[in-house]
């Protein structure tokens, strides 16, 4: 790890109010400033790799709210993740890690084969695999909490049923490679269907290569950098086979990871891949005028939750709001602390259920205060976490992916 990145933290504390775990605990060890200090002291030999130190670091959600608020350019979340990776590189992967990260995730067929038969009726296996995708504790406790979510699972993963090459409607504007996230495909296939429809309506030919593999974010989360690099190489090769204007995803987490491929692999083909990656909201705002012409009134009270992977990791905040405000009749209310984490954090809510619940509750309070009927967001992790939270505590509020809401307004 780059020591200078650690000593760059001048301990001003500007990041503390942004950090979800600090807000809940007021503990310096659970703050970005404290986490950078812990890693630094470890490097300097003042502390050693005690179980307690690792436990403290593991409470970080990697939401990167700290990075957005650090004027000095320190990214505590990333430093903790980097540290975890380096430590992991010294250890061997556990049996489960090897199974999920190396044998399942890089092979969509196997992944689906492992999940689909279990769907609906086998609470444990399904919840585990679906929600965690790379989460390694075998039988997490709060499983039945998720049961309600399983009822509206798609019959078959979208990857299996989607047409790999969707022609543009009307005049062709360009070609887009669609990166279909695992969770979007397995659970939120309606949203990704909507995404593809919107793109074709706007004149894009949409290519969804069926052999694409998981973006590698779960590998990164588990500290498996080698696995991430494998995934990156595969995807770069696959998408490199087409002449694309953009590579688009409607999964915030995938988008953040794909854009970062070039940080891990210093190769021209990787850089050109990463440069083409766009969150769906970025592409849609480029066509605001065309959209405006086809959007029809939707008299709903709506608010928007910024996924960490979209706002903090990709710096995208304006676009989703701009798009929502295009919808006639829609009443948009800004959510207080809209870019505060919801507690989903990939698999965090299973690994640290208590903390995740505290963070979720804070989010739900702000949602309640807006009086919104629909909560819109753009990342499957948030959709899962918030859907469950709303169901339990605010059943009157529906949750939708941004593209679902736009498609609804267009009537497709």
């Amino acid at each position: 790890m780059d020591y200078v990145k650690l000593i760059n933290c001048m301990r001003c504390g500007m990041c503390l109010p942004a950090c979800p775990t600090y807000k809940e605990t007021f503990l310096e060890t659970a703050s970005p400033r404290g986490r950078v200090a812990l890693v630094r002291k470890l490097q300097e030999g003042e502390l050693d790799q005690s179980a307690r130190l690792l436990e403290y670091l593991s409470l970080c959600i990697d939401c990167q709210a700290c990075a957005s608020s650090c004027p000095c350019g320190v990214n505590a979340g990333e430093l903790v993740a980097e540290f975890t990776c380096e430590r992991k590189a010294e250890d061997r992967l556990s049996f489960m890690e090897d199974l999920v990260l190396r044998k399942l995730l890089p092979h969509p067929d196997r992944l689906e084969a492992a999940i689909v038969p279990m769907r609906l009726y086998q609470r444990i296996g399904l919840q585990k695999l679906v929600r965690t995708l790379g989460i390694l504790k075998m039988f997490p406790k709060p499983l039945d909490r998720m049961e309600g979510l399983l009822t509206d699972l798609p019959e078959r993963p979208l990857r299996q049923v989607i047409q790999a090459d969707m022609p543009a409607r009307g005049a062709v504007r360009g070609t887009i490679g669609f990166f279909l996230g695992c969770v979007m495909s397995l659970i939120f296939s309606d949203a990704s269907r909507a995404t593809i429809k919107l793109l074709t309506l706007l004149g894009y030919r949409v290519i969804t290569p069926k052999n694409q593999v998981c973006c590698g974010a779960p590998n990164m989360l588990s500290g498996d950098l080698a696995g991430l690099k494998d995934a990156a190489r595969k995807n770069v090769n696959i998408f490199g086979g087409f002449d694309l204007d953009f590579i688009v995803t409607d999964c915030g987490g995938c988008g953040a990871e794909l854009k970062k491929y070039s940080h891990h692999l210093n190769e021209p083909s990787v850089a050109s891949f990463s440069n083409k990656v766009r969150d769906i909201s970025q592409v849609l705002t480029m066509h605001a005028d065309e959209l405006k012409a086809i959007l029809t009134p939707l008299p709903l009270k709506v608010t928007y939750h910024d996924p960490c992977h979209i706002a903090h990791c990709q710096g995208i905040r304006k676009q989703p709001r701009e798009l929502l405000n295009l919808v006639p009749g829609l009443k948009y209310t800004e959510l207080e602390n809209a870019d505060a984490c919801c507690g989903g954090g990939g698999t965090y809510n299973i690994e640290k259920p208590q903390m995740a619940d505290l963070i979720l509750r804070r989010k739900l309070d702000t949602i309640r205060a807006t009086g919104a009927e629909v909560l819109v967001t753009g990342n499957p992790g948030c959709l899962l976490q918030l859907k469950k939270g709303l169901m339990d505590h605010l059943p009157q509020v529906k949750i939708m992916h941004l593209t679902e809401l736009l498609a609804k307004s267009i009537g497709v």
């Binding site: 001003c12 200090a37 307690r52």
Partner: protein, 457 residues
Amino acid sequence: MNPSFIKELQAIVGQQYTLSDRESLAVYGYDATPELESRPGVVLMPGSSDEIARIMRLCHGAGISVTPRGSGTNLSGGSIAGSEGVVVQTSRLNRIIEVDEENLTATVEPGVITSALHREVEARGLFYPPDPGSMNISTMGGNVAENSGGLRGLKYGVTANYVMGLETILADGSLLHTGGKVVKDVAGYCLNPLLVSSEGTLGFFTGITVKLIPKPQVKTTMLAHFPEMRQAALTVSAIIAAKVIPATLEFLDKVTIKCVEDYAHVGLPLDVDAVLLIEVDGHPVVVAEEAAAVEAICRKHGCSFFQTAKNADEALNLATARRTALSALARLKPTTILEDATVPRSCIAAMLKVIQDSAKKHNVTIGTFGHAGDGNLHPTCLTDERDKDEIARAHKAFDEIFDAAISMGGTITGEHGVGMAKKKYLPRLVGESGIRVMRGIKQAFDPKGILNPGKIF
């Protein structure tokens, strides 16, 4: 620290709120002050003022020192305790107890975050002006203990101008009430001002009553670019001489502008030597007049571009960007040593020259920003703690800067406090008699010397 003593403390605040593991202690050894660090013996997070009183009583009996801590953002080492010391963090005491609209006061617990109080009172059309750069994380207890200033200090003053009443736990655990909601009070010595800026050495604040004022109806935020630093400095003096008192009159030099723009992207100019961020507020008619006057003065003094924020968002972005100046400067080099020398505002131009000359002489990079309207500049040396030679040169430069400030009738610290960092300069400023009187006061409040020892003198 003796484990059985920790047990006794734990009995007061509970296990969850007693931190004594190596890892926790290691991260409570610092605050925002560079170059200073020392692990405390134990950290406590009490949940009530009663618990604080009991902690004080126990420590007083045992002769163990106590260091209050808010969010640890002070810049003078004020919240750093020694290895046998108890750190008491106030974050859990974060209730706004009352906003009294009839008396125009607010009463808060010490762990309330400054900007949380702003939001609460502004929602009722009221205003609590002190707004340090750190307001989104600094606590009211820390603000009172350091007598923090802010961007609005020029027109509205500093924390001390708003503290009306304090509830303070003394070293022996007894309770002291000073002031209250009355606007006049001459019963005995005036103790509030003594407690404000006491840096945790005289007592532990558990309740703070502050004065509120009506929220100004409108404000206009302006940014003036200057090709030369001196022009900006002369403009500051000219604005004040013209009897216009802006709420905010902030200065940023070229180095600072670049760092802030790198982080905040608010459109600061990269090709000028200095900018002034100016805000006038109040009645719409007066604001319009003052804004026009400010613009005329800026132009007269060589301002190359003058911009008025088009809307509240743009104004907020500019002010927010300015608040990040210190941390943004740390982008360039790992270590930032910032000072707080303050001079009569007519001396701003002379002071800027001294800073420039010292930087050149000792071959160090100094970025300067600050509350120019208050005569309070923050020359910030960008360095690397691993380069001992450069650090030594930085301190030499600051030595000269402090001497110059004192000779101009200024002070060594305008708002960050003496703490440990500026101890050695204090005698130069206040002299032997000053130190003697201060020690006498400390003795009267805390004869055993257990409250935040090692700070100020």
